[in-house]
Amino acid sequence: MAKLLVVDDEANIRLLYAQELSDEGYQVVTAGSALEAVEKLESESFDLAVIDIKLKNESGLELLQRIVKERHTIPVILCTAFSCYKDDFSAWLADGYVVKSSDLQELKDEISRVLAKRQRGAYV
């Protein structure tokens, strides 16, 4: 069972994502801020992180930079209400980019795609 870290500053979104993604068979851990996410990343291992770009007073892109630098084996999907960050090259560090929608299918598809990509690395 893949373990996901969902980082979003809105409690209801965290609740919704945790519920939906658990139903998909993932083990889901949530964090409400970048700081909390870093703490969880230091104490637990994850297979994938889903990060919102706008986190109250913090930037999801900075958190992304930190994960790439310190734990480059964890793939990251940016999940944001804004599509404009697609053109920001600091967002390109992510493995996936999903524009938030009431239909979570796109996010679910992206998670399974990125996990499959990671899984493929176990080839030899």
Partner: protein, 836 residues
């Protein structure tokens, strides 16, 4: 009365039929076209002939000689330069002192020439043009006459709006010798363009006489095939040399020593030339077969024109095609209508030659090929487009803009509509040209392009591993052959295409099953100007900047005119390194250096490293993936030494994890890794297998046997620029010169050899190797590797070349040489056994 036969044309529109013979000698019912003209003239008592030659005159002279065998007298005139039709006749003026007739040597007609001559005489004409009515006069010269048949107007090749008559000039004229007064000497002068309009202007006795009958200008290959159809249908009567053989319901003409096997099915009109064999079970319908041909059982020929010395193998199907001299058509090959195969070509079995495809002389079509376009200059048509992850071919010869555009359509069709692909190229003009064509194809399928223009492959891969694009394509000049372009295909993760991905595109390409976007929905092109910055950022994150800065390394890098010269010196300077860059400038015309220049470049690099007392030298190949290392003493490292050294340096710097190396890599790598609590993953030699291994989270480095390295912390793909920075970082961490580190690496003797081996025998060789290895410790990851304690030997068939590689490693050079020799001899012996 004399006649002039115009036989000087090049026959350009008739290519490839006329690649080896002049147009008047192209066979029509197994006889040169011009022979039919001679027969026609003879029929009307014209036996004194002047043949006007120009192109390949000896072929015509050797055939007709003085004409005595045919009952005519021939005088040859060969102008030294192209004088135009009338100008050429002027060259024969001294032989034309009485009324004479002019006719083209590439006509098929049954006109009553006597009627034309009689008309001319009765009207006391200076010139009479023979006219006829045709359905489509656009490609001919239209002629208008008055009631007395005097010509009043000419229209050369009119448009439909200008057509005022369907009566055209047939190229058959009757002229009086006085006509020469109107033709200037030594000038290019044409009958229809210059002479006749001049006569019209001067109100000379210029007449046009319309004739009924069959008339066809055999000007192109379609017309050539249709001329045969007309003869076979009986629309025009021509002499056929082969005598008729009685057979109910069939018009069968058979030459001397012809064998028709039992069970051969013959329908319609069939001509079989001398000494040809049609074996039992073949089906021939309305076809002409030349001399010395063999048609095997099951072959099916419909409306085919086969020249001499043609071998058509079992079950081949040829429908309305022309096959020229010395051609073999493989078993079960299918040729669709309109096809032309020129001289000296071999078509492999089960090939598929699509409609209207023309194959020029001396081609080799590999078995199982599908030929969709005309094959003109290249020597072979490959049965598969892809060689691994790439398509390569001679620039503008095999990989033409139109071919590449079609390839773009096929690639675009394989991707989701509206998706994005990343496209880049090297510095050469040819790569830019072909890339632009390719983009058109992609856009037509409704797929968007992010054009990152001139960029090295590692940068393109680096962007691809992020979101946004479903694939990438890179155009570059081949290192082995500057005339060749390589198109490298990458998947959405920046990995090389797998064979199944390539096959998918090939299927679409050959079936031409393209998705064409609606006119409002073609793809768009955008640019990603920030890609370089993105790469730089990642690059800095991937190395220990502090360590490199503090070491203040001086290094020499030969950039080989690659795009890396535009970015790496700046990155290394920012990291505090002193970079002496060689060949950093880009030369679009010259392109990259070739593989032949490599040894010399390496020697120069080594000299410069020693002279400048640099820490190391790096030779970066033009693809920016491969690196050759030169240490501070000027020693040029072999790839296996570089691999062992990098593994040692990684372990010395504290990296722990798995090292991915190919089966052919030295076993000392296992020894070094195990001593340091790390492991080794053996992979296949192909780049994709190594890169896939590098994606695994445990892998800290992947290294090939060609100086290619991937450091997954930065990117899992081979990257020569990062390899250079990493080598500087690791050598700084080691704190000792590279030559000292190499001394610490356990050494073994490592030898490689190769045995030439045709494709068909590769499987047999590997079966023999596998039988030979039954009682030995063997691994089968890639080829067959047999271990003898710490020593081993690997027998590996090359994927793309007709070669078997043999690699041996042993503690001492003598044992390694013995192992290598032993297995190379074995392979040679197996080759001979398989030939028996």
């Amino acid at each position: 009365m004399k006649a002039v036969i115009m036989a000087g044309g090049f026959g350009t529109r008739m290519q490839p039929l006329t690649c080896n013979i002049p147009k008047p000698m192209v066979p029509l019912m197994n006889r040169p076209i011009m022979l039919h003209i001679v027969e026609l003239l003879k029929k009307y008592g014209i036996t004194d002939l002047v043949m006007l030659l120009y192109h390949q005159p000896s072929v015509i002279k050797n055939f007709f000689r003085d004409g005595a065998d045919l009952g005519v007298r021939i005088t040859y005139v060969t102008p030294l330069e192209d004088m135009g039709t009338a100008g050429a006749v002027k060259c024969a003026e001294k032989y034309l002192d009485e009324r004479f007739l002019i006719i083209s040597g590439d006509l098929l007609t049954d006109f009553n020439l006597q009627k034309v001559i009689d008309f001319h005489e009765a009207n006391k004409a200076l010139a009479t043009i023979t006219l006829t009515s045709v359905k489509d006069p656009l490609q001919f010269g239209v002629v208008i006459t008055d009631k007395e048949k005097r010509i009043t107007q000419f229209l050369e090749k009119p448009g439909w709006g200008e057509v005022i008559s369907d009566t055209i000039n047939t190229g058959i004229y009757v002229l009086e010798p006085e006509i020469f007064k109107f033709i200037p000497e030594g000038e290019n002068f044409d009958f229809s363009q210059d002479l006749f309009p001049l006569l019209l202007k001067k109100k000379s006795a210029l007449f046009g006489f319309p004739v009924k009958g069959y008339w066809r200008d055999i000007g192109n290959t379609d017309s050539y095939r249709e001329a045969h159809h007309d003869i076979l249908k009986g629309k025009v009567g021509v002499k056929v040399d082969e005598p008729r053989r009685e057979m109910a319901g069939v018009d069968l003409r058979v030459g001397v020593d012809v064998r028709l096997g039992e069970g051969t099915v013959v329908e319609g009109t069939v001509v079989v030339g001398d000494n040809s064999q049609v074996q039992g079970g073949a089906e021939i319908k309305d076809s002409v077969i030349g001399r010395n041909c063999i048609i095997e059982p099951g072959a099916k020929l419909t409306r085919a024109v086969i020249w001499d010395n043609v071998y058509i193998k079992k079950s081949a199907k040829i429908n309305d095609c022309v096959i020229c001299n010395n051609v073999s058509v493989g078993a079960a090959t299918v040729m669709e209508e309109g096809g032309v195969v020129a001289d000296d070509t071999a078509i492999g079995e089960e090939s598929y030659i699509k409609r209207d495809v023309k194959i020029w002389p001396r081609k080799l079509i590999e078995a199982g090929s599908t030929v969709t376009g005309n094959l003109i200059w290249g020597e072979r048509w490959k049965k598969s487009l892809f060689e691994g992850e790439m398509i390569k071919g001679l620039t503008n010869i095999e990989l033409t803009p139109e071919f590449v555009a079609k390839l773009g359509c096929a690639y675009g069709t394989s991707l989701p509509k509206g998706s994005h692909v990343l496209v880049g190229r090297d510095a050469t003009l040819s790569s830019r040209m072909l890339k632009r064509s390719f983009l058109g194809g992609i856009l037509s399928a409704g797929v968007n392009v992010r054009d990152i223009r001139m960029v090295s492959l590692p940068i393109l891969r680096y962007k691809l591993r992020t979101f946004g694009e479903v694939g990438g394509v890179h155009f570059r000049q081949s290192l082995e052959d500057p005339a060749t372009t390589e198109i490298v295909f990458l998947d959405a993760d920046g990995l090389d295409f797998s064979s199944s991905m390539g096959k998918n595109i090939e299927r679409i390409f050959y079936k031409e099953n393209f998705r064409r976007a609606h006119h409002m929905e073609p793809g768009g092109i955008t640019e990603l100007p920030q890609v370089m910055d993105f790469y730089r950022e990642g690059f800095f994150r991937g190395v220990d900047q502090q360590l490199i800065r503090s070491s203040k390394a001086k290094v020499v890098i030969d950039f080989n005119h690659s795009p890396a010269g535009q970015i790496l010196p700046q990155i290394l300077n920012d990291l505090g390194c002193e970079v002496i860059g060689l060949n950093t400038y880009l030369d679009e015309q010259r392109g990259s250096k070739t593989v032949d220049e490599k040894p010399n470049s390496l020697q120069q690099l080594a000299k410069i490293v020693m002279t400048l007392e640099a820490r190391a030298g790096f030779w970066l190949d033009p693809t920016v993936e491969e690196v050759v290392l030169v240490d501070e003493t000027g020693r040029i490292y072999q790839p296996e030494e570089f691999l062992s050294l990098m593994t040692t340096l990684m372990l010395k710097s504290g990296s722990r994890g798995a090292f991915a190396v190919p089966v052919s890599a030295p076993s000392v790598i296992e020894q070094i890794a195990q001593e340091n609590g790390s492991s080794v993953r053996r992979t296949k030699s192909v780049d994709r297998a190594m890169i896939e291994a590098a994606i695994s989270p445990e892998v800290v480095m992947a290294g090939s046997m060609a100086g290619r390295f991937a450091f997954p912390k930065f990117q899992a793909a081979f990257d020569g620029m990062f390899t250079i920075a990493k080598t500087i970082e690791l050598s700084s961490a080691a704190g000792v010169p590279l030559s000292r580190v190499l001394k610490e690496v356990p050494r073994s003797s490592f030898l490689q050899g190769k045995v030439p081996c045709v494709w068909e025998k590769k499987g047999g060789i590997m079966r023999k190797m596998s039988e030979d290895s039954l009682d030995k410790e063997a691994s089968f990851i890639d080829g067959i590797k047999v271990s003898f304690g710490n020593d081993w030997v690997l027998v590996l068939p090359d994927q793309y070349q007709p070669v078997i590689h043999v690699v041996a490693e042993a503690k001492d050079p003598k044992t390694a040489q013995k192992l290598l020799d032993e297995y190379m001899h074995k392979v040679e012996r197996w080759k001979k056994e398989l030939a028996q």
